[in-house]
Structures are given as C-alpha cells and as structure tokens.
Symmetry: C2
Subunit: 322 residues, 2 copies
C-alpha cells in the first residue's frame, strides 16, 4: 500500500517518514539494526503515520511537528508487532528448533524494547505534555488487550464484549491516537481533535474486524500471510464468535475451534463452517456500522480535499482484500 | 534489605513507595497483576527508590514530587528484570521463581511492557520535560547494553572496554538517574544534580562489579540465587576477563568459559581457577576505585546527615555479601 493513491497528498512526506525512521533506528549493533530494519523494510501499510499526517492537513500541516509524532507512533506499532511475535515456550516444544526459536525470542524482546525506547526519545522532545500522557495511557491499555488475548486463546466461551475490548486495545486506540495527535500538535480546536480521534477509533475497529474476516476468507496470494492464522493460534475473532451462535453445527465447530494443533484439513473445515454460518456477512455488517460512524465524525471537520481522502480511506478499509 | 538501617531516614516513605506501587500495578487481569505483584513481593533491595528519595533530602524533600519519580524508576527496573529473564533463561530471581519460569515468555514480555507503560503514565505527569528526556535516553542505552550482552555470550575475546560499556548500561545509568532525578525534581542547583548523578554512576559501576564477583564467590544460602549463573549463561564478567589475563592455566580456563552446558563440576572448577588467579582481588580493587570516586562526588553536596548515609551506602556496597 506504499503508493496507495489515497495518500497522494502526503506520499513524499510518508517516504520521508520511512527514510527518517531507517536513519533513526541505526545503531552500532548489527543484530538490533538488522531486525529493526527488517521490520521497516517489510513495509507494512504505514497507515499510522499516514493518519497522523492527514490529520495535520486540516490545520496548516506543520510538518516539522507532525514528523516526530508520526515516527513515534509507527515505532510504537512496530514494537508491539515484534513483542506479539514472541513465541510462547509451549509452542517451541511442537517441533520447532528451540535454539532458533530462543534466538528469535531474545532478539524480538530487545528489538521491541529498543524501538519503544527510540519512540520515547522522540516523544520526550515534543513540546506538549498532552502527547505523552495520551500515549502512556494507550500503552497501558494495549498491554491489557494483549494479555486478555493471551488469557483467552482457544476459549470458545469468549463473548463479543471481550472481543471488542481486545480489538479496541489492539488496534483502534493507536489509530485513534494517530488522528488525535496529528490534530493536537497542529493546533486544532479541541472539538475537532476529538472528532478526528473518534474517526480513527471507529476506523480502527472496522480495520481489525476486516483483518479478522480476511484471515478466514482471503486468497492466500493476496493476503501476504497464510490464512487461518487466528484459528491455528486460538485467537477467537468476531466471525468465529458469531458462527458459534448461528451455525447448526455448533458442537462440531466448538470442538474444532478449541482444538490446538489443527491439521490443514481441520483448518479448512473450520473455515467452511464459519462461512456457511453467515458469520462473515454479519461481521461485515458490523464493519459497515463502524465505517458509517467514522464518516459521520468527519462531518465536524473543515470541508477540504483531505476530508474526502479520509472518507475514501474509510471506504477502502471496508472493501479491501488484503 | 527492606529494613536496611542505612535507609532509616526514609524507611516509612520507602514502605509507602512499595504500597503505592502495589496499588498502582493493579489491573483487572489476574495473570498480569499476579506476575507484577509476584515481582514486587520478591522484594529486592528497593535501592533505586531509596536513591531517589535520599537525593531529594538535600533539597527540602518534596515527597509528592519524589514519589512518582521513585515509583517510575523502580517500575523501569522491574520491567528490565522481567525482560532480561526472557533473554537470560533465568529461573529464579532473589530465590523466587521468575515470572518467566512461572508463566512463560509471552506473559514475561507483556508484564515487562505493562510495567514500563505504567512508568510512562507516571513520567508523563511530571511537570519537568527534562525527566522524560533523561529517561528516554537511558532506556535506549539500556537496550543497547542488553543487546551487547546477548551478542557477547560465551565470547572469551571480550575486552574490559566492552564489559564497562555493558555494566554502565545495565546498572550504572539507571542508578545515576535515580540520584540525578531525585535532585532535579527537588529543585537542586545544576552542579549538585550533576554531582549526585556522578555519585550514582560510580556507585552503580561498583555495585555491578560486586554483583559479578558475588556470583562467583558468594555462599548460595546468602545470595538468593544459585551461584555461577553468569558462568552457565556465558555472561563474561570482570573476574573472568581478568582471570584469563592472569591465570597460568589460561587455555583450560578459556575452554571452560566457552563451554555451554557446563556440569556442576565444571562450574566449580572454573570458579576455583578464577579464585586462584587473583582476579577477585583485582576486581575488588576496581570496586574500591569506584567507591572512592563516588564518595568524592559527595563532597560537592551540603553536609547534612543524608550525605553520611550516602557515604555509608557506598561502603555497604563495597562490603556486602548479597
């Protein structure tokens, strides 16, 4: 999504964020640097810096203030991705080379810590105490979301409430912060800071639900990672929770969802059951609700081309296949 | 060391730090809370909060300003311990099973992240941007120290320079920050902020060297953890580096130091070789140099009972057996 046309307004600045980030995480340590650079080079969607910059467009676009915020938010995101990848000891016993897994863990923990520490350096130089307060609160909540996810793996009793709790912390809060802080450091009026934050929140919720749907429905070649990952890791997502409620085969589905070490056939079987339960459509209906909420919040903002870009971004998130 | 007489001046406030910390890490998640509380209950020396408070004693002791700094620094320390445990594969700390041993890597990572995030909440509310700038820089350096340690495990070519680089980041910088920030938030003059920071730095270096010596020489019953841990994990410490230079059995020692998965007999053999090389005495001479440096920096400070307490603390660190 590096050249996503929706980001046309800010493409060269996004590239600058990328360049600055690469330079900023430079260290004398090949291991640390390689893993940090590896993450950056993986590209990802750079959504978070994009939201930060776009939010600033409404208020004079003070790029030198927006850059460190955009960079810090992407570093926080990268740090959380890396820590999420740390393999639990029990998973390494399932035939994965323990030395390799152990080395991966060590470098993952330290890389994540390093990226977070670098983000703190940027944040500590921002002349607005509100920024660090907001980010500190979000960091705590993100940890709580992650722990809840760990606690609830393979737990088929999981409720929708728990799911929303988790995806709010896993995804929505940070995207909300990107929009909010982009506006804040640009001197936006309070009400519009709030509106952009609320846009980002609803968009983040929609984004994660779509991600969870795609993990079940996507074509592997488009998705960029194997599908059924959540099923294999026991992460109970919206389509699964809804499918359990609506499928006629609920005890079979339950059994499959609870099963650790699913075979490929079992994964496909589970996917088929979820699809035939109508849960995918129901999930997408919830996405629609969040997208409409997001777009509604944009109505409070100045009517400039950036507002249209954010509306179209919301639409893109609804319809994306990757 | 909870009732260490050196902390008499501040004992009840140290207990308050402990109480506040326990309350502060409360969360709705038993796993997270249990692991965080588990760490707190392991007790430790509470050195870092003690340094912070003692530094403030010179300048009117504004306790409400010192408390959040003391708490934040202890949380940063705890966070690094938990993450180090993932990295070091250690199973006990201070005689109790580590978070990792009890709950696995993922929970260790998340507990560490959570404790750090909580510290950021405290730091973000401190009305002095210098505090977060200093802590952010230290966090980056601590990561770099940890990575260097990972990179240099079982590396017998390690130099003294590399060792000092590492212990500065692993221990001295944070202790220095405790002293410095305690003074800073209490409104100390710049020169004395510096002096206390320099005291803490030298003391931290001495503290770590003594720790490394004790890992070889301590009586297990006093130490709170099995001895020879560094030898087993391939962490090359000062006594080992010095022993390699001065022992007549350098190729045997080299071989033993490089050996992963040492037997108990091999650990004892290595310890015996290090002891007979004179490296322990040499290490303690370096400790003496750092302690004298530390005490010299105290000369710049107001001559009040706290100054005597800090001098005696320095002496205690020189002579401690645990």
């Amino acid at each position: 999504m590096k050249q996503l046309w929706l980001f046309n307004q800010i493409n060269s600045d996004l590239q600058r964020v990328e360049k600055e980030l690469t330079k900023f995480v430079e260290t004398g340590y090949p291991i640390l640097q390689d893993s940090a650079i590896h993450l950056l080079a993986a590209g990802g969607k750079r959504l978070r810096p994009a939201f930060t910059l776009l939010a600033g467009k409404f208020y004079g676009y003070p790029l030198e203030k927006l850059m460190p915020v955009a960079m810090a938010l992407e570093l926080i995101h990268m740090s959380s991705l890396v820590h999420d990848d740390v393999v639990d000891a029990s998973m390494t016993r399932r035939g994965r080379a323990t030395v390799k897994a152990k080395w991966g863990n060590i470098v993952s923990v330290e890389t994540g810590d390093y990226l977070l520490a670098k983000s703190l350096m940027l944040i500590s130089k921002i002349d607005n105490p509100e920024v660090s307060r907001i980010l500190a609160e979000i960091s705590v909540e993100m940890c709580q979301g992650e722990i809840q996810q760990i606690k609830c793996t393979f737990d088929v009793e999981q409720t929708l409430k728990q799911y929303y709790y988790r995806i709010k912390r896993k995804t929505a809060l940070l995207i909300s912060a990107c929009c909010k802080l982009g506006a804040l450091v640009s001197g936006a009026p309070k009400r519009q800071v709030w509106a952009l934050g609320a846009y980002g929140h609803s968009l983040g919720m929609a984004f994660q639900i779509v991600d969870d749907v795609l993990d079940i429905t996507a074509k592997p070649s488009e998705f960029g990672k194997p599908i059924g990952g959540d099923l294999r890791q026991g992460i109970m997502t919206l389509p699964m929770i809804l499918a359990l409620k609506s499928t006629p085969q609920s005890s079979e589905l339950r059994e499959l969802l609870e099963k650790k070490d699913k075979t490929d056939e079992e994964v496909w079987e589970t996917i088929a059951m979820i699809k035939s339960s109508g849960a995918i459509d129901q999930s997408m209906q919830l996405v629609d609700i969040y997208i409409e909420k997001a777009k509604k919040h944009l109505q409070d903002l100045p009517k400039i081309p950036t507002r249209k870009a954010l509306e179209e971004l919301a639409e893109f998130i609804r319809t994306r296949k990757f």
